[in-house]
Amino acid sequence: MTPGAIVFMIASWSLVLGLTAWSFGRILRDGRASDGEKTAPEEADPADRR
């Protein structure tokens, strides 16, 4: 690989891996990651609309 290609590859990979690590790090650190609350699927009630 040429030095230019190596620089481009490292820069590209660093950008996307850095962004991924930062965003998931924030999500996991927040502790808001999952409140575990689930709502059972139900049919929508048309009476509640409009």
Binding site: S12, E42, E43
Partner: protein, 535 residues
């Protein structure tokens, strides 16, 4: 994560939501289209323009679509006609949103067919069915035989083979969608996405460790082929448009599916950070893994010139003909082939189930149908129209749908939603809406980008593609005379879907006595005043 008022489904966990969103975005294009585009457009030049497009087009559209979706969810609208009507109180809003029902249905139908090729080739790899066809022309002939193209006498597959794999693929899709958001789509993402990343990582490592090929080329030469900084091409408009197009397709924006997924969130849920995490996950799959498998492998075995020729012959030839040739020359090739095609299958299925979500939401929310019944009906429609693709693939039936719905239509919808969310809803409201419940503050420069740069970028793409491609394609300038009836029929089916959905939207609004000018009543139970909630 809470549903708005207990009556709609909800995502089970935040990670599950992000994996489902990323699964929607990560598709066949990450592993087949991206390396071809990068190699064709100057490597380093392409990468520079690609990241500019990610910042100016991809991330803003990601936030806009999450914002539109979550706002629609406040009014129990998981489909584009309802989402547009929730923002723009005008009778035209709901009809503008019809495009957000037609596109996912049309794309889902032909995408499921392509997805069935990956399932078939997983099976063919495991059974060694194509073993012995060790040259590129032989594998291309094998692929065309499976697709039912060319001389029937030269076919190696029974005529029913593509139909059988299509039926199985469709059945799996419908089964998953019928299970619902949390138990179906989210569970698929939580299983499928880690498998996808694992398989892609294994393949990337195997490719990088390959010994030098017949002409001495290595995987490093393949990476050099993609990343060589040919900055002389950075001034060419075509490179900027190619990279913008790739960003557009890879993030699955302009489809209606991201919005449908986001509609199952509340204003307490973050969408700013989630949007970044989704885009970043997709980019990791594309740039780090997608760029490290197919092209480097092709360079090792065929040299840079050969790989360039393969890339120019199309992404499907690269994935379904070149890669099997490569696997046949490797130890444990059958297993590696199965890993490659099952990786593509998982990439495909996590996208195709997303495309059905807005359709199912529309019929459930507006007509009160059960999810299972709508899923089954969608399966029957997909099967019926999918048969046309299988039978008439060689006549350009699929290409026509791919262009009008899967290419041009996406840009049209993205442009319309940007105008409606940012300009009609107003930039300040859009900005505040995106930041409700947000875990991060988006740099304020993006408000300017969303307001001016993104719509201008989209408009330039629309005009350029309209001039370069849409007009010649519309005039059938590149269609063989014998194929014209099939192409015409292909377009008529899209028009038919548009008319049917327009009539259904009209019927839904009448059935539920919606008032276009008054807006919807918010589904939130508590303090926030209904109707006048303009974020």
């Amino acid at each position: 994560m809470r549903a708005h008022d207990g009556s709609r489904e909800a995502w089970g966990t935040r990670i599950g939501l992000i994996l489902a969103m990323a699964g929607n975005a990560v598709g066949l294009g990450n592993f087949l289209r991206f390396p071809v585009q990068a190699a064709d457009n100057g490597g380093g030049s392409f990468m520079v323009t690609y990241f500019v497009a990610l910042l100016l087009l991809g991330l803003p559209l990601m936030w806009i679509e999450w914002g539109i979706g979550r706002n629609g969810g406040r009014f129990r609208k998981g489909h584009m006609p309802g989402m547009f009507a929730a923002i723009w109180r005008h009778p035209a809003a709901k009809y503008t949103g019809v495009i957000g029902l037609v596109i996912p249905l049309v794309v889902m139908i032909y995408y499921t067919y392509i997805e069935s090729w990956t399932l078939a080739f997983t099976w063919f790899s495991l059974t060694g069915d194509y073993w012995g066809r060790a040259t590129q022309p032989e594998m291309v002939a094998y692929l065309r035989s499976f697709q039912g193209i060319g001389d029937p006498a030269a076919r190696v597959h029974a005529p029913w083979t593509p139909y059988a794999f299509f039926a199985v693929t469709l059945a799996i899709n419908i089964w998953i969608v019928s299970k619902g958001i949390s138990a179906g789509i989210e569970r698929l993402a939580r299983i499928g996405m880690p498998i996808l990343f694992l398989f892609a990582t294994i393949l990337a490592v195997v490719v990088c460790l390959l010994p030098a090929g017949p002409d001495g080329s290595t995987a490093a030469d393949g990476l050099n082929f993609i990343y060589a900084p040919d900055l002389s091409r950075i001034g060419q408009p075509g490179v900027w448009l190619a990279s913008a197009g790739q960003i557009f397709f890879t993030l699955s924006v302009g489809m209606g599916s991201l919005q449908a997924y986001a509609s199952y969130l509340t204003t307490k849920d973050d969408i700013a950070l989630n949007g970044v995490a989704t885009a970043a996950t997709n980019e990791t799959a594309e740039v780090v893994l997608g760029g490290s498998i197919a092209i480097p492998a092709a360079v090792v075995f065929f040299g840079v010139g050969g790989a360039m020729a393969v890339a120019q012959s199309g992404a499907f030839n690269l994935g379904f003909a070149t890669m099997p040739v490569v696997f046949q020359q490797l130890p444990s090739g059958q297993l590696l082939g199965a890993l490659w095609f099952s990786l593509l299958f998982f990439a495909g299925i996590t996208s195709s189930v997303a495309m059905l979500t807005p359709i199912i939401a529309f019929f459930r929310e507006e007509f009160g149908f059960r999810r299972e019944a709508v899923s089954l009906a969608a399966g029957i429609v997909t099967a019926l129209f999918g048969l046309m693709h299988i039978a008439w693939l060689e006549h350009g039936f699929l290409d026509e749908w791919d262009y009008w719905a899967g290419t041009f239509g996406l840009v049209v919808l993205a442009f319309l939603e940007t105008i409606i969310f940012v300009w009609i809803f107003e930039p300040e409201n859009a900005w505040r809406s995106i930041h409700q419940g947000a875990d991060i503050r988006i740099p304020r420069v993006f408000k300017f980008v969303m307001t001016f740069v993104t719509p201008a970028y989209l408009l330039v793409i629309l005009l350029w593609w309209g001039w370069q491609d849409a007009l010649p394609i519309l005039r059938m300038e590149r269609v063989a005379p014998g194929d014209e009836p099939y192409v015409l029929l292909s377009r008529l089916v899209i028009v038919f879907f548009a008319v049917v959905f327009t009539l259904l939207v009209r019927a839904a609004w009448r059935r539920n006595a919606y008032d276009d000018r008054a807006g919807f009543v918010e589904a939130l139970p508590a303090a926030t005043p209904a109707k006048e909630v303009n974020l």
